[in-house]
Point group: D2
Chain length 277, copies 4
């Protein structure tokens, strides 16, 4: 499926400010034929960096005082992996690749350690594997209210569980924390997403099951097979869309994602397991 | 300086348990001629993994029920880099290597975001660079009581600041959080350390200043030029000495570190800047 | 039912220490014929105070350095009010006596404000009244593990909900917070309790329903019709058994409660609504 | 000094809503000749309650859907007690009236227990008494930024200490928590205040020293001898200006306070100890 995506961000810069953006689509095989461009007005020099191991693309630049406009546009042929979720199990700790252990650890916004008992009591007896992570997402979708303004950039999974409200980032953090608490590696994914209304940046998560990282969206708002991955991180701290060091204020933001073939995706929500890997 | 070090850990294993240990000294140039061995009783098969980018050495094994003894012994010729701290400055954000940005982010136990105002008000006007990080360490040493039992494995920097008490791990977390809040990259270092009484595992931190990672120990308990690095992480979550998945209880722990040349280190505390890098 | 009760507390006092005890049974009509005595060894002068509006009995004394033994013994004929819980409803805010409004407010250990959404989502659609408070207690009993050492004197209801473990005090705090979040006045009750094994001080709570304060014990450990009330407070902060100002350490504690008539209480748990009021 | 004061509050009521207001000046001797009136438009029936032991005046009414306007106006001749702060000491625990002990306990927004070590390390060695409480207020005024929007109704003293920013309510909570942590009884005071710009409700605190409750304002914004007391509570939870049960939104708020004699108060800030008691 051919997808076009991008964003336009404007800022009011009061003093020279270093920006670090993570808004470019990842250069991964799932994004076949990825073509994109990042521009600013005024035209500034960008330093790019594809951070291993996920090749998140960071762009840094120094903005002078005044209005600033960032434009990003891209297109790619989305080639996702699909599978039947039935039979996708958990990988026992004894067999888990050791490089994945950091995705079992608690992180700033995913306090898996604090939620260990909640996870065990609520999901400990559910069949391990895809079914259990689906149960976690279902629970989140039913029990956490999607509510703009209910959270802030310091809100963590434990707080979201208490407040019972949040946005996509909070939903993903809670899903990740609960998975890790059950010894399922999980990580944060920032993305462009088909199906959101209105268009916006989106956040979902991946859980490592049956030897593959599978996508999960506890908000149930986007099309799981219509996600263009931007960054992967332990949590949102590592894949912030825009970090600013100086004195600048966001002014406006516009995100757009469109399927080139209007018939696809059919607005039917897939029940397949989906992976970008 | 030739240093011998190691530990002996015993456990009571109630059911088959996966252990992941991070107690082996890092294979870095600073540890010249590193020779070591890890053994268990009963003898078990270890899977080793040197995790990039820091080559933390993890050893995984499956322990059967019963008593378990882990023994680790090593020796190395410690070759540290020394410098005059005067004139070691901070690296401006615009010039910071982009791969270091994750060490500016908040992590589970180092909530730099929550401590931003405290850091700014307390240390914002101090001369940037080595002097400022030293001021942070001095403040921690004077204002946080070193007290066993004051914290637990879930204690974070923000809590340590509130409780005004903790152990080496807490001191390091607080130092890291305050540095990051001031845009100084900082990371956690677990180690064997000369000078502790009694011998124990130790935790310090590194701050990135003047293009190098420098060691800091806000507890002022160990000799900064007598540290054998085990692991590096964003915080303690990534370099836990022993993670257990199953049913096992720690029984006893003994750590030992000795300088082969008894005259060295002179027990004079160095005022040099020290780096393992 | 005639009940005997009391406690023996010993301390090691290192320096002159002011003690404030709240271990004496309340002088209320439900404790008919209450006869009791409080003694110390060494013999010290007590200042007593029956604090309005609940007449919690506080005893203050200054203990010199050395060992200290506190003994309290009492007996009373327990005269409780019983009712059929069916049909005991909630009092609408518009009709609630204004002097009860402070029992709707959050307190140190009962953060009703933070748990408002949890309470609403979990219990908002249950029939108001005794049935709803019973549902809260059932949920707590099923989902919170009774576990000594899981909490400490600073643990609050929000933390208990997160940790899913605690002791009687934590169970009561969580019950109170959830009730208040649903606009049901609720308060903390410290007591001697028949049915505990082993004997210990106990904590339950009261909810104001149908114009009366009714007892609830989410631990399901004591006999609801075998409670000798000591203190009433917004939460445990107000009815601490022993507050010490100085330098003293608790040494041992023994609590005893016995029904004079061994046939009563039948060990059958009552399903009546019970009130001391 | 003759003072006029009052407020006008408007709401949009969406469904029948119970309001409980605590905006009327307390009927205390310090408010000599207090004359006031509370009205609503539409005209509603108020139920009044002067809550012991402080006689906070609560007014309850049921508002129908539609716009609602509350008007309160009063005047009084402010008769405050003044004293030389030198020599006002702390009352030892052994001599403290037992009815004041609840003002040593932690409350929802004043976690004195959590701040015990901070208080001891920061203020433990300062001369006890008025001087120490003044030092606490000076520290708060210098280290906490007065910033609208920095806090919300759930913000507590421990969070304010961490965030280093807040409004008058947060300043008072932090002052109270630190006093209680040092065994100085302290309580929250809501009031009308001369000297604020712009006029607004204000919050200060009282500490019990030398046998009297003395006023302290860590914001240093109002005139300490120009405060008209509304309510006294353990913290803000007990003296909320307006509690609403139903569906209503605040629309506008106007507060006014004027000294009838324009020459008084001289805008000189008093250095006397001031008490309403």
């Amino acid at each position: 499926m051919k997808v076009s995506f991008g964003c336009e961000l404007t800022y009011r810069v009061a003093a020279p400010t270093v920006f670090i953006l993570n808004i470019e689509a990842a250069r991964i095989p799932a994004h076949a034929g990825l073509a994109d461009s990042l521009r600013s007005n005024p035209a500034l020099h960008f330093t790019g960096y594809a951070a291993p191991p996920f090749d998140n693309r960071y762009a840094r630049f120094l903005a002078p005082p005044g209005p600033l406009r960032i434009g990003y546009e891209g297109s790619a042929d989305l080639q996702l992996r699909r599978a039947n979720p039935a039979g996708i199990g958990e990988v026992p700790i004894a067999a888990l690749p050791l490089e994945l252990f950091s995705f079992l650890q608690p992180s700033r916004f995913c306090e898996a350690d604090r939620l260990a008992n909640v996870a065990e009591k609520q999901f400990g007896s559910i069949n391990p594997g895809f079914e259990r992570v689906t149960a976690i997402c279902n629970w989140i979708c039913s029990n956490i209210e999607y509510k703009r303004g209910a959270s802030n950039p310091q809100t963590s999974a434990a707080q979201t569980l208490e407040q019972r409200a949040g946005v996509c980032r909070d939903f993903a953090h809670l899903g990740i924390a609960l998975c890790r608490a059950l010894n399922i590696p999980a990580r944060f994914v920032s993305c462009y997403a088909l199906g959101l209304a209105p268009d916006d940046f989106h956040a979902v998560f991946e859980a490592y099951l049956g030897g593959t990282w599978w996508l999960f969206d506890p908000t149930r708002q986007a099309l799981l097979d219509g996600l263009i991955r931007i960054g992967i991180g332990r949590d949102a701290a590592e894949v912030s869309f825009a970090s600013m060091y100086g004195a600048a204020e966001p002014d406006s933001m516009r995100v757009f994602v469109t399927a080139a073939d209007p018939a696809a995706p059919s607005r039917e929500r897939t029940v397949d397991a989906i992976s970008t890997g």
